[in-house]
């Protein structure tokens, strides 16, 4: 276990470096330079003297490798740079983080509440009508993109009930929990449904696989009650791979809510990213990308560790 942990952390650090190099390099590839990145189109209005001063400020007169380490050094101190419109970038991101986290948690709850029961039923009633219905749900859930489902929900609500899910400004949970949940319910259903489909598929295939395991056969031949076998032997083991999926999907939800936040006009990180792209605020794009990628790989690391803790059968002693 300790060896695996060390190995996992040792591969984690080069990946972190790789991500930082990629994000740093990407912004250097854009037409223009870091001044353009910070000021956007307004950079064209600078006088020669102003531009020179800014070049020195950003260290553009230094070789790229020194620029990279300076940028990395600032980053390690929590300084992602400053956006002309939004001030310090890290603060701007953190301001929008709670909403994105809340949306991710709610969507995940929707996904689990729908996906796990359907997946278990589908597998326990293998090849029955229920199974077929569950599989059709999963197939459709995977094929309907969030913006289609969201658009349908908005249409049904506005035409059928004369209301919009997010009319008016977004309200924080602390200010008015009920209004907040009402505003987030439809975005969460939209985002959660396609994840419910993958959770369902994973649960189903995992339960089917565990049902064939020899320890389940043994329990059955011992004459244990079917309910007990399902609860103690099948579900406990079958839900372990589902945990991994949940962890990875949560990472995706944190970084992948662009479309739903955009669709429902929710001021989270996803909408911020889309906004910064449309405004060509490269420094912001750089900051958000880095932040989301870091969150994503940290989640993956966490999932791996939880996986080890959860499953007594897994030992990483032989890993590498």
């Amino acid at each position: 276990m300790t060896r695996y942990l060390i190995h996992r952390l040792l591969t984690f650090i080069p990946t972190l470096f790789g991500i930082s190099i990629l994000v740093f390099g990407a912004v250097r590839l854009i037409p223009g330079d870091q001044i353009m990145a910070a000021l956007g189109t307004e950079a064209g209005m600078l006088t020669d003297k102003q531009r020179e001063a800014m070049e020195v400020y950003y260290g553009l007169d230094q070789p790229p490798i020194i620029q990279y380490f300076r940028w990395l050094g600032n980053l390690l101190q929590g300084d992602m740079g400053i956006s002309t419109r939004h001030g310090p970038i890290l603060a701007a991101i953190l301001k929008r983080l709670p909403l994105t986290i809340e949306l991710a948690v709610l969507s995940l709850s929707v996904a689990l509440l729908i996906g796990i029961p359907i997946g278990i039923l589908s597998a326990l009633k293998h090849n029955s009508f229920l199974d077929l219905a569950g599989r059709i749900f999963a197939m459709i859930g995977l094929a309907v993109p969030s913006f289609v489902l969201g658009a349908i929900l908005i249409y049904v609500l506005s035409v059928g009930f004369g209301t919009l899910p997010n009319s008016g400004n977004y309200t924080d949970f602390i200010d008015d929990p009920l209004l907040n949940l009402r505003q987030l319910a439809f975005p969460a259903i939209t985002l959660g449904t396609s994840f419910a489909a993958s959770v369902m598929r994973m649960t189903r295939s995992s339960v089917l696989e565990v049902r064939r395991e020899s320890y389940v056969q043994t329990a059955r031949s011992k004459g244990l009650a079917a309910n007990l076998i399902t609860r103690r032997h099948i579900l406990r083991n079958a839900l372990i791979p589902v945990t991994t999926l949940i962890g990875i999907e949560f990472g995706y939800l944190l970084g992948g809510a662009f479309i739903v936040e955009h669709l429902f006009s929710l001021p989270g990180i996803g909408r911020f990213a889309v906004f910064s792209i449309s405004q060509r605020e490269y420094a912001l794009i750089q900051g958000i990308t880095l932040f989301v990628a870091l969150t994503f790989i940290c989640m993956n690391l966490l999932v791996d560790l939880i996986y080890v803790a959860l499953d007594p059968r897994i030992s990483y002693r032989d890993h590498n």
Partner: protein, 272 residues
């Protein structure tokens, strides 16, 4: 049962490809760009079977043109990801050692970004347009193909027929092309089919967010955004048909992929 659904997937996918080819050749009921201002928001009927949009443009023609754009990006991005990813995976798996570590670490770094975010970043840097979108999606999916290709190579390079070929003096390129590649096409074919559905979803998502084809060119995602979305309450057909098109596309590639997996890899039959 599974193969029947695979067949259904293949039939729908082929039909969409035919529609896309007609759209690309502009063999459509009306030119997709032609505006008929007097027919603004005309409901589906005799003149416009699927209705008209705000500018009186025929939705059916735009869907056909959209099919060609959406499928062009999806197909070519998956071709790109397969060509680059499989080459990287094969080289990493076959040569092992430092080559393996270097190439796969690079793939891990790309894989560390959520797909849509990386695609957004690349399109934001390169600018919108069909070719930039396909490059972005291609790069995002490259690591998956590298991983899918690397696994079988690791197993195949230790098989007797490969060792025999090596003993007879065959060079690495000969072994890779003649002995290893033909034996690992099954997982790649399955992945290509599933990859097409992700690529179509990503393309529609990017288009929906305004980072799709050049202005004026329709794609299924573009048709679901902007003024069409705002007008959906008055003219629901604006959103209905593009939504159906995307779902059919994704569903057909998924069914095809699952069907192919059942045929090519009997071990997994019925599990998903």
């Amino acid at each position: 049962m599974r193969n029947r659904s695979g067949l259904i997937g293949a039939i729908i996918a082929s039909a969409l490809v035919v529609v896309a080819i007609l759209g690309a050749l502009e063999i459509t009921p009306y030119p997709y760009w032609q505006q008929h201002r007097l027919d603004s928001l005309e409901p589906p009927g005799d003149r416009y079977p699927l209705g008209a949009d705000l500018f009186g443009r025929d939705i059916a023609s735009r869907l056909m043109r959209g099919a060609s754009n959406s499928l062009y990006v999806s197909l070519l991005s998956v071709c790109f990801a397969t060509a680059v990813g499989a080459t990287i995976g094969i080289l990493a798996g076959y040569f092992g050692g430092r080559t393996d570590i270097l190439l796969m670490r690079l793939m891990d770094i790309i894989f560390a970004f959520p797909g849509l975010l990386l695609a957004l970043l690349i399109v934001a840097l390169l600018g919108r347009g069909l070719n930039n979108t396909l490059l972005a999606i291609g790069i995002v999916y490259t690591p998956i193909f590298a991983r899918v290709a690397r696994g079988p190579v690791l197993a195949l390079k230790e098989t007797e027929f490969v060792l025999a070929a090596r003993v007879t003096g065959a060079g690495p390129w000969h072994i890779l092309l003649r002995h290893i590649l033909p034996n690992m096409t099954a997982p790649l074919i399955v992945q290509i089919s599933l990859g097409l559905s992700w690529a179509l979803l990503t393309e529609s998502g990017l288009s929906f967010l305004g980072l799709g084809p050049e202005v004026g060119e329709p794609s299924w995602g573009v048709m679901l955004s902007g003024e069409n979305r705002a007008l959906a309450e008055r003219a629901p057909w604006l959103l209905f048909y593009p939504s159906i098109a995307i779902m059919l596309g994704v569903l057909s590639f998924n069914l095809l992929g699952d069907g192919l997996r059942d045929v090519l890899d009997p071990k997994l039959r019925g599990n998903t």
